[in-house]
Every structure is written in C-alpha cells, then in structure tokens.
Amino acid sequence: MMAREQDLEEAVSSALEEALGAGRKLECAEVEAYASCGRMQRITAEQSSITAASSLSENVLFVRVVEDGRLGIAFSSSFDARRVRQCVEDARDLAKIAEKDSQWPGFAPNPGAYPRIQGLFNKSVESLSADDQRGMLELMIDGATRTAKGIIVNIAGVEVSRKATGVANLNGLDALSKDTLVNAYCWTVRGKGKSVTPDCTNVRASRRPDIDFEKIGETSALIALHSSTLKKPRTEECSVVFSPMAVGFSDMGLLSTLMARGLSGERIFRKNSFLQEKVGERIASKKLTLVDDPLGPGLSGSRPFDDEGCPSRRTELVSDGVLKGFLWDNYFGSISGAGSTGNAIRDRSTGSVSVSPTNLQVKPGRGDMEKIISGIDHGYFVWGCQGVHTSNFETGNFSFVASPGLLIEKGELVGGVRGAMLSGNIIELLANIDIIGSEVQDFGGSLMPTMSFRDVRITTG
C-alpha cells in the first residue's frame, strides 16, 4: 500500500530523531541528518504504446558527523532504527580518519522560522488514480500523433510523486516539509533511417495536475514536423532564437548549464568561475535580470529550506545586466563571509553538500515565441543545446549543436538543420540579447522564457 503524506512526514521525523538521538548517545560533537521519504508512480510509453507502470518508494537518510573539524558522512536507503544507528556510527568512524578542516564553521544554525510557501503540496495529486495518470499519458500521445502523419512517440511518461523532506542538527535546527510534483515528458521523432529528425523533447513540471498534456505532445510533434523538412545551414553570424528549453532546461539549457555553474559560490571561492571578480560589472545586456527565487507560490522549484536546513530566500544575481552576487551554501557562505543564500544541494552519490540554484528565473520581457520568430528575417531557432554540458566553466566558452535546430527565413520556420554548431563565450553572447519573451515555462528548478540573440557564430561542415 502507498503511504499517505502524513505517514511520510512521520517517517522522516522519526528517522531524524533516531539519528540525532544516536549521535547524542555516542557523544558526537556535531551531528546533522537529512531524510527524505517519497512515493512515486510512473507510467511510461515506448514507440507510442503504453507498456509499463512503476510504483517506487524511496527513503534516503544522510548523516554527517563532525569531530574536531573532521567530517564523516554515511547514508542509507533504510529508516530501520538499527540501520539509522549504524549510519551515525559509520559517519563518526569516518570522521576519525578524515582530515581536520581548520575553517569548519559548524552546521547551519537554527533559523527559528522558515518561509511559508503556498501551493507546494496539492491534495488532488494524492487522489490521482492510475487510470487518471494513464489518461494523462494518452492525451500526450494523442496530442503528438494527431499533429502530423509519421510522428513516433519514442518515449513518454507521466510521473506523480509525494515526498516529505526534513533536516535536523544538534544546533536545534529542525526543518520539515512536504510537497507533490507532476512531471510530464514526451520525446518524438519523425521520418526513418537517414532522414529521421533529432530527438524532439518537451517537458513540464507542476505541483498540481494542471499540465496541458495534449499541448506537450503537440509541441514536441510540431518541432519534429518542422525538423523533417531538411534545410542546409551556413557558416555565418546571425540571429538565433532559443526556446525556453534551450535557455534553461537542465543540462540541455544554455543558462541552466553555464550560469548555474558560473554563479556557484563554491566555484567563486575556488576561483574557477568565469564570473570571478565581476560583481558590480556589466556581464550582460541591460535586458537581463536573473534571480534565484525558491519562494514563488506553487512553483515546482520552490522549497522552504535547502538541503542543510537553511531558509530559502530570493537572491538577485544579475540586475539589468549587472552582476549582483552568487549562490552559497552554509560552508562556503560562512568561510567566504557572504553567508548562506539557502542553495545547498545534497550530492546523492556521496552525501556531501554543494551549491546549486533552486529556481533560476530570467525576468520575462515582451513578445511570445511566435512573435519573436516572426521578427527575424534570417536566423535559426534552437530547441535543444546538444553537448552544452561540455562547456568550459572557467572561461565561459561554449560549443554545442543546435539539436533540434530550425531555419528561420522571413519570420517563418522553414525546416530543420542538422549539425549547426554554435560557439562563443557566454558573456559575449549575453551582451547580444535582442528580445526576452513574455511567457515562462516551469521546468522544476528553472523558470525560463524564449530569448533571442544577435550575431551568434554558426559553424557547419
């Protein structure tokens, strides 16, 4: 049986309590525990056919113990009391062999209170049946396959999850929250063999089941349809429009990849960011304002506290093109003197903490995507940035393939291009922002509009 959200919160609370209790009993100097308990149901389709359903339960407990500036970490997928105590003992034992960090600032202090954010938990998500979820996926597949003949939904899925998360430490910090999330993704192609289009992916995330599933499939298929008429790209410098996906979806997005890394306080402290020593300088066109805002009601990237239990807050990063500041966790924020901005994220493979944006947002401008495209006489439309994760985060140099990439002629999308490589430096590119779109899309960690740039360097074979 699936646990209800109350059970999830109770499970998290008791795991945290057990961990701190074990730490006190072992007379550990400093103990911090992070626990998360989630339930997800996923229904997936392959080759336009619904073939699998999954019911996933996930418990994660991370324990950090510090003795005399020495940090040990242990984590487990079980909240069983014996396993929790084992975790604390393991972390303590590892702390004994770790090296002393003379700058260790201690775990996060008790902030007293956390921001209240409306709309993170939606009851109607909890009551969704498997039939409802299957219906959502069917809508998405229908939306795609109805758009044009020959569309194949390679992979599509709808995920519905509920999760409770908590952090506690011996400083008295005690944070607990719960949320719901609906994720939808659709990856279509059109054509066959050598004429097949690139992967045309569309995604959306929401705290509520209010996603327009049909539209997700339809948009994904429209990109595949446009892309299936082949046009030849040129080596040139010209205008390029980036879709919201290409601006800010995870590792496919230009800003969600390069700016997320560049703005990390950890990189600034280690002196390996292209934004090093640029606070107060103009790093982009006046049109760009960029914030990290985890407080927006109902947004899928919002949260009341970060993975160390520090309160979330809005952080201004770029204002009218001028760099204002960076993102920090408790450790690097403390030793650099900047203070935490509530941007700690737990590394699921090591249990350690690093810095990451929570909900990176470009301030919307004017004009929808169609209007921006219609204003371009000759240029390209980028739906995804293939390989942008191989950029150089110390210099800001990037090079990626527009995939899918479409040719714009006289304000119209006239066909797909293959192998158009875009390269340059992110700071130089941001100086050439032409238009920022008015509509933003929520990808669950970023909220991004369409953006167009002038004089972008394109290389072809």
Binding site: A52, S55, G193, V196, S352, M421, S423
Partner: protein
C-alpha cells in the same frame, strides 16, 4: 536469495505470467580529495529489492527497501501492471524464450576493495592530487574523486533464473586546473574497472601514472592554440573513436532506439567502408562494462553491430528480441534494484586495422588529431557533439602543436562512410553512460580512425 525464492512461491506471485525479483546488498565508499586534503569521505549502504512482473502484456515494477515483504512488493507491481490493462495505446509485451541461467558470478580481486582500509584509499586520493599540483607549478588545483562498490546482487525469476553476482567495482575521476600566461585550462581523467581489486592502483595505474597523464592533458590545453572552424581531415584517437562507437552508433543499435533511429531499415546494407567492424562485447579483460549474466538472467553474447561495413545485429533485451524474432543478446541491464532493466551497451569498440600511425598521418596536409574526450552527447538521428581534450594539429603528415577548448560534431551515419584508415594500435575509455535516468558502467574503444574532410565539424569555442 532464499527470501526472493520464497517471494516466487507467495500467493501474490500466483497467476502472473512472469516475475523477476532483484535485490542488492552493496556498500559504496566515496572519497573526494584535493591537494590540500580529503574533503569528503563517505559510506553508503544500499539494501533493498524490487519486483518486475509481466501481466496482460504490460510491465509492472515496484521497489522496496530492505529484504522483507517481497510478496507485498510483487503484489504492488502486479497492481500497477493491472492498472494499464485494457487502456488505449496499451502495449502487448511478450518475451523471447531463453534458457534461464543459474550462476554465481564471482569477483576475482586479488586485494578485495572491502579489505583495504578507508584511510589508505583516502591517502591514495590525496597523494594523487598533491602529486599533480606539487610537480608542476602551473597546476593550480587537482581533485580526485574515488568510488568503490562492494557486495552482492541477486536475481531470481519465475522461469528459474538464479544469479548471485559479487560486486567489486572501482572508479576514479580526477581533474586538474592550471594557468599559464593568465589563461586558465582544465582537464579530466577516468579510471574504472569491474571485478578487480586494489591491486589496480598498486600495479597497473599507480598515482604517478594517472597524475602524469592528467598533467599532460592540462599542459596541452594551457599551451594550445584556438582551432580553425569548419571541416578538416582528422584522426580520432582510440578514446574518441570509442566515443563515436558508443554514443553515436551504439545507441542507434540498441533495439529500443533502433526502430526510430538513423539505422532503421539499413540492416544488411552498407553503412561504412569494408574495413569497419564494430562490436559490443560482454567481456574484455580489464574493461568496465563486463557482465557474466544480464539483469534478465540471460547469458550474454557478443553483438556484431557493423560487420565489414554492413549493418548487422541490434542489441536486445528479451522483449525486443521477441519483437525482432531474434535470440536475445543479453544487453538488459539495470543500474541497481531501484530500476527496471533496459537495453544497455557493455564494451563497445571498433576492431583494429593494420596501419601504423605515421601511415595514417602522411596523407593529411592540414587536419587534427583528437586524442581524448571531455564528454559528449548523441541523438537518434546520429547527430553527435563531443568535447575534446588532447587535440593536436596535423601539419604536412606530422603531429604539430596542441589545440585548446575544442568541440567536434557531425552526423555519424555520414561520418562512418568517410572513414578511410584504421590504425593498429588499440585503446579504450571506461566511464558511466546515462540513459533514461539510469547510469551504467560501460567501456568503449578502438584504434586510431582517419576520416576525410566532411566527416567532422570542428567548432572550437572562445
């Protein structure tokens, strides 16, 4: 294993066409060390099980922590599978017949990783980072990220497969940054082996070997010139050739991606010059993608993806083998019990040719030699993008100066036809590959591969 067996006998498992139970009991050690000291030292205990069932032509999958209540997990998987029955667009999955494997796949580590003290592993990582920074003043920082996995994985199926696998995997990602004349540069290196113990760092790749290799890559980037933009003749070294084999061609030959990919409809047709043969193998000594049994209990076999230039077989799981009317290849793999098995590569490589490097070089007046990778990505239409490190210009048939901040791209189906030389030397790269949110240990490699102008686009950034 007994708990899983009892699950198969439970009331919940009765009447279900196929039940597959997997469990992990694995401990991971993770250490991150910079030149100044060890920053992360952690231990993870991963223990749990999952059930995958096939019911009315649909898969149901459920995961639970620990090893108790396997019957409940089977019941949960059956419940979600039933929820799909009778719906629109609902699938009709069937499985190819196999002879289920019963086996204990044993690790052959001389010095088992769980018998090496964590403090010694941490000291090794710190020694590596210190060595890189301490032996070249231009190096500004170094990071060594060590991971090992020790324990057991279990699989039982209602068809009689029973597999116990000893897990012993080590992985080391190291990176370094340097600065010369105010210009920053960085590079990376990976070491990854399956089924081997700590002896790898004592005998095969001690810290000096890894450190010197890493420094050489950073030095190359620091002193490199910008690359010219456009298409040029080039030679892809074994690691880059391996990336092409894996990312751009291998994924296209995974049966689930094949049907709507750039290779669809081309089986039996020429896709490359006759000299080109590319395979995916379940075992190559010392490689990372080695398996003895796949995660559906199938005994794995070698797949010849391109046979003397002609497109051959696809990699399959049981579901896709049935659809294609073929014998399963044993490519069903799951990252852990938390994930259902999907079609994954193992060790993917181009077979070697017969040319010496100087013979490959001599016909190129201007071009590039691409030695190593910084990561890459490919798509179903064979479009690929690869970040390159250790690149050199080729001038008048000889290796010339280094090139920095380079990325290459192309359409692999077009690039393949433009291969015009294969070297004798052979090498490989081991790493993790991501597909549908699962990370998997794989290796890929090949010889030096020479490609004509038009095959690869060079688009150096900056």
């Amino acid at each position: 294993m007994d708990t899983l067996r009892r699950g198969l006998d439970s009331r919940e498992a009765k009447g279900i066409e196929y039940v597959e139970l997997r469990a992990d009991d694995v401990v991971q050690t993770a250490i991150d060390a910079r030149e100044r000291g060890v920053e992360v030292i952690s231990k993870r205990i991963e223990s749990g099980h999952s059930a995958r069932v096939l019911l009315n032509g649909c898969w149901g999958f459920a995961v639970a922590d620990g090893s108790k209540n396997v019957a409940l997990t089977i019941g949960q998987a059956a419940k979600v599978a039933r929820s799909l029955a009778g719906g629109k667009n609902t699938g009709s999955v069937e499985l190819a017949d196999i002879r289920p494997v019963r086996k204990h796949a044993k690790a052959v580590a001389e010095t088992p990783l769980d018998q090496v003290r964590t403090a010694d592993k941490a000291a090794f990582c710190k020694r590596l980072s210190s060595y890189v920074v301490g032996t070249d003043k231009r190096m500004t920082s170094a990071l060594s990220m060590y991971r090992d996995f020790c324990g057991k994985r279990y699989l039982v199926t209602s068809e009689g497969a029973e597999v116990e696998t000893d897990v012993s995997m080590l992985y080391l990602y190291s990176s370094a940054s340097g600065k010369e004349n105010g210009s920053p540069a960085s590079s990376r290196d990976e070491v990854a082996v399956t089924g081997c113990g700590w002896e790898h760092f004592e005998r095969v790749e001690p810290h000096e070997v890894i450190g010197n290799r890493l420094k050489r890559k950073v030095q190359n980037e620091m002193s490199g010139a910008k690359c010219k933009r456009g298409s040029f003749p080039c030679i892809l070294g074994p690691k880059v050739a391996g990336m092409l084999a894996h990312e751009a061609l291998g994924h296209l030959s995974e049966a689930d991606f094949f049907a709507s990919g750039a290779f669809a409809g081309l089986v039996g047709k020429r896709v490359a010059p006759e000299m080109v043969t590319m395979v995916d193998s379940p075992f190559v000594k010392g490689w990372f993608g080695n398996i003895e049994v796949d995660d559906e209990g199938v005994s794995p076999r070698k797949v010849v993806v391109i046979d003397k230039g002609v497109l051959g077989e696809q990699m399959t799981n049981r579901e896709w083998a049935r659809k294609l009317g073929k014998k399963p290849t044993g490519n069903a793999r799951a990252e852990s019990y938390r994930f259902p098995p999907i079609i994954r590569m193992r060790n993917t490589y181009f077979e070697r040719g017969d040319m010496r490097r100087d013979e490959l070089l001599e016909s190129i007046k201007f071009g590039y030699y691409c030695g190593d990778i910084r990561g890459g990505q490919a798509e179903a239409n064979s479009s690929f993008q690869v970040g390159i490190q250790e690149c050199h210009e080729i001038l008048n048939g000889e290796i010339a100066g280094p090139v920095r901040d380079l990325a290459i791209s192309g359409m692999a189906v077009k690039s393949l036809m433009l291969i015009d030389g294969l070297g004798k030397d052979f090498g490989f790269e081991s790493s993790y590959c991501g597909k549908i949110n699962q990370s998997m240990a794989t290796s890929d490699g090949g010889p030096d591969i020479r490609l004509r102008k038009g095959a690869i686009v060079f688009g150096g950034s900056g």
